[in-house]
């Protein structure tokens, strides 16, 4: 079978080197990392930049979203949820970036970024509703601007330009954060978003989780660019390459990008190097296109985002087994409760599909709703 045997991404990651800051170094090749996979700080002064409470929160959030992700895969297998896109392995990228935001910032997640949405304040129950095919699964919580998960590829990047542009026009200190994957960088909208954001100096942050595969297509076949970050050069915007499994590096890079956005210095393109441990979605079989067992084990054992932070926190006496057990227990309770809430939430009804197409429903839709109602009232079977 024709199979990709060399994974360039893995090679690039193993050549990762510590550079002193996300704003230094060469964006073409250097990958910014501060917390090594062994849980060591490779850069001085990090303790002054990230306080212990934030570090602990980072850990708790990552453990929480991973448990959510695993639960979702199980629920799908049990037929209690629809097709689901797992993110396990990418927790540091999503949690670290979303934790750098403040409440009014805009979040544009894709279908794989619920860890970011949850971290930014989306309720677990609503995320479950979304994947259960409920009509009310993508409503943003009060006071937050969390957009519905983007299903087409790269299209949301341009929306983030618009919201960021509006923030600038209105003089609000808010950023717009758009998530996307390595595959998205091939779409025209990626180019248009970066170009517009550069022209209007929009306070937008384009956060690419480069997990090496767009479903089955490895980055080597996606592009002949050595890196995604280097594309920033063409638009004369800031580009940074970061270890996406190092939550400190992700968070610090985001803080830099936000500061620059607030200072009117425009957009940042962040390329976070990471890996999805599982399938593209529950309908996908990664064994078809990569050495799934080997790659997944390698990343879990050698570069896991949660393991390295736990080692570090334990060394600093910020974490221990007792806390771990307490967290796991709490997490289970919260997740089970959210599943229960979602499953007990009133089911979507046929008439819900006719609502919210317009502010004011035109006659065609009104009549069609009545037609369906008359039909079901007459005893016609509900499909």
């Amino acid at each position: 079978m024709w199979m990709v045997t060399i994974n360039g991404l893995t090679e690039q990651i193993s050549q990762m080197k510590a550079i002193t800051s996300s704003t230094g170094g060469n964006v073409m090749t250097d990958v910014y990392q501060v917390l090594t996979p062994q849980g060591e700080l490779s850069v001085k002064g990090i303790e002054e930049k990230i306080d212990p409470a934030t570090m602990v929160k980072m850990y708790e959030n990552m453990v929480f979203v991973r448990a959510f992700d695993r639960k979702s895969v199980i629920l799908q297998r049990q037929g209690r949820m629809g097709t689901y896109a797992p993110f396990e392995g990418q927790e540091a990228s999503q949690v670290g970036s979303a934790m750098a935001l403040t409440a009014g910032d805009w979040l544009f997640p894709t279908y794989r970024d619920h860890a970011a949405s949850i971290t930014h304040g989306q309720s677990l129950m609503r995320v479950f509703l979304y994947w259960m095919g409920h009509m009310e699964g993508s409503i943003s919580p009060e006071g937050k601007n969390i957009m519905p998960p983007c299903v087409p590829i790269a299209t949301q990047m341009v929306h983030a330009v618009g919201t960021a542009w509006a923030s600038k026009v209105k003089g609000e200190k808010k950023v717009s954060l758009a998530y996307f994957g390595d595959g998205a960088t091939s779409e025209g909208d990626f180019h248009e978003a970066l170009n517009f954001a550069g022209v209007y100096k929009a306070p937008a942050i384009f956060f690419c989780q480069n997990n090496g595969f767009a479903i089955s297509v490895p980055f080597e076949l996606q592009s002949s660019s050595a890196t995604i970050a280097q594309r920033a050069l063409a638009y004369d915007i800031k580009g940074v390459r970061v270890d996406g499994n190092d939550i400190f590096a992700v968070w610090l890079t985001m803080k830099d990008a936000i500061e620059r956005a607030h200072a009117g210095e425009g957009p940042t393109l962040i390329e976070a190097m990471t890996f999805r441990y599982g399938a593209h979605t529950t309908a996908d079989d990664p064994k078809k296109y990569r050495d799934q067992e080997k790659l997944s084990q390698e990343w879990r054992n050698e570069r896991d985002p949660i393991t390295r932070l736990r080692i570090y926190l334990e060394k600093r006496n910020l974490w221990n087994q007792e806390k771990e057990e307490h967290l796991l227990k709490q997490t289970d309770v919260k997740i089970d409760q959210a599943v229960q809430e979602a499953e007990e939430y009133p089911k979507s009804k046929p008439e819900d599909m006719f609502k919210h197409v317009f502010a004011e429903t035109p006659w065609m839709i009104q009549e069609q709703e009545q037609e369906l109602k008359r039909f079901t009232d007459k005893g016609g079977d509900r499909a």
């Binding site: 024709w2 095919g133 409920h134 087409p152 297509v217 089911k347 079977d381």
Partner: protein, 327 residues
């Protein structure tokens, strides 16, 4: 020789045989190589024909459509796969503004012999934007042929015709039918002409027109009505939405005097509207009752927990038949 295969197997076989038959044929799309396509339509073909002819492209529909146009202009026969119909839009401009009118603009000097294959339609509990039926966007564009198979047999014969057609063909594959049933399909190559409908069941009380996943719904409803009321419906699978088989449509309506169109797509400006106009033009005076449509609604296909309520069902079609016959 024939054997029972599914629609997806019939589609794979058509491409396999055309790849073997004609060195100009090449496949391109996202995840169609090593992965064999997200629905496995190209399973095994990269191993057989190599990555130069079965091409895993970057994730870029405008790129796929535009380069397919160029390949077609310069002597190749590209068969492009789009993962789901609702993901085609970045490539829409290329299809509408270029593929569809290259022959016209060059007064026949150049043409674009490309096929665009894409799964479409609801009923598989897909996530958002995986269930749309927007065939009408393409039937509206001069220069495109639009084909929709409803059986494994038709899928193979129509796809071979589409690949051999000198003009761009949108080949819309009803996702719900990919593995819904098997039927006898000849092993050898054969062609079903584009633009010809198929009369699946003859009748004299009512003509029912459908395509894609709605064909089986219409047929089952017609059979139930026959058992329950003894009404004989003529069921016609259009197979091609552009060009329409005017002769079959009109001669059926002249015979039965009644018509019903079953359409999964949104109601407004669907292909059903065009069929009704055609009947108005050519057979109005033969009608005993107004023509009825059973369609999806003018709303985005809802999330999957209520997608079945969006779909025309056998029950809704039966209801439509009754309303048309008892007028």
């Amino acid at each position: 020789m024939s054997r029972k295969i599914t629609m997806i197997q019939a589609i794979t076989e058509a491409m396999d045989q055309k790849l073997a038959d004609d060195p100009r044929v090449m496949l391109l799309g996202e995840d169609i190589g090593i992965n064999g396509g997200v629905f496995r339509a190209t399973e095994g073909l990269i191993e057989k024909y190599g990555k130069e002819r079965v091409v895993d492209t970057p994730l870029a529909e405008a790129g796929i459509m535009g380069s397919a146009i160029g390949l077609g202009l310069n002597g190749m026969i590209p068969v492009a796969e789009v993962q789901f119909l609702a993901f085609i839009y970045p490539g829409f401009e290329q299809i509408v503004s270029h593929a569809a009118r290259m022959r016209y603009r060059t007064r026949g000097q150049y043409h674009v012999p490309m096929v665009i294959r894409t799964p479409f339609g609801a009923g598989i509990r897909g996530p958002e934007l995986h269930s749309e039926s927007v065939e009408t966007f393409f039937t509206h564009v001069p220069g495109l042929k639009v084909v929709v198979p409803s059986t494994p047999y038709d899928a193979k014969g129509l796809l071979i015709s589409a690949i051999e057609d000198p003009d761009p063909v949108m080949f819309l594959e009803p996702t719900k039918l990919y593995r819904a049933f098997k039927e006898d399909v000849p092993e050898e190559m054969y062609r079903i002409p584009i633009g010809k409908a198929n009369v699946l069941q003859e009748g004299y009380d009512l003509s029912i027109f459908a395509w894609g996943a709605m064909v089986r719904v219409a047929l089952n409803a017609a059979k139930q009505i026959d058992r329950e009321k003894g009404w004989k419906c003529e069921v016609i699978d259009l197979r091609s939405l552009y060009p329409l088989d005017r002769e079959t449509i009109i001669s059926s309506v002249k015979k039965t005097g009644r018509a019903l169109v079953v359409q999964e797509a949104h109601k407004t400006l669907g292909v059903a509207s065009e069929i009704i106009s055609l009947i108005n033009d050519e057979a109005l005076m033969y009608l005993k009752s107004p023509i009825k449509r059973v369609t999806g609604f003018d709303v985005p296909v809802p999330q999957f927990s209520i997608e079945d309520d969006y779909m025309p069902t056998e029950a809704r079609v039966k209801h439509g038949i009754e309303e048309t016959i008892v007028y």
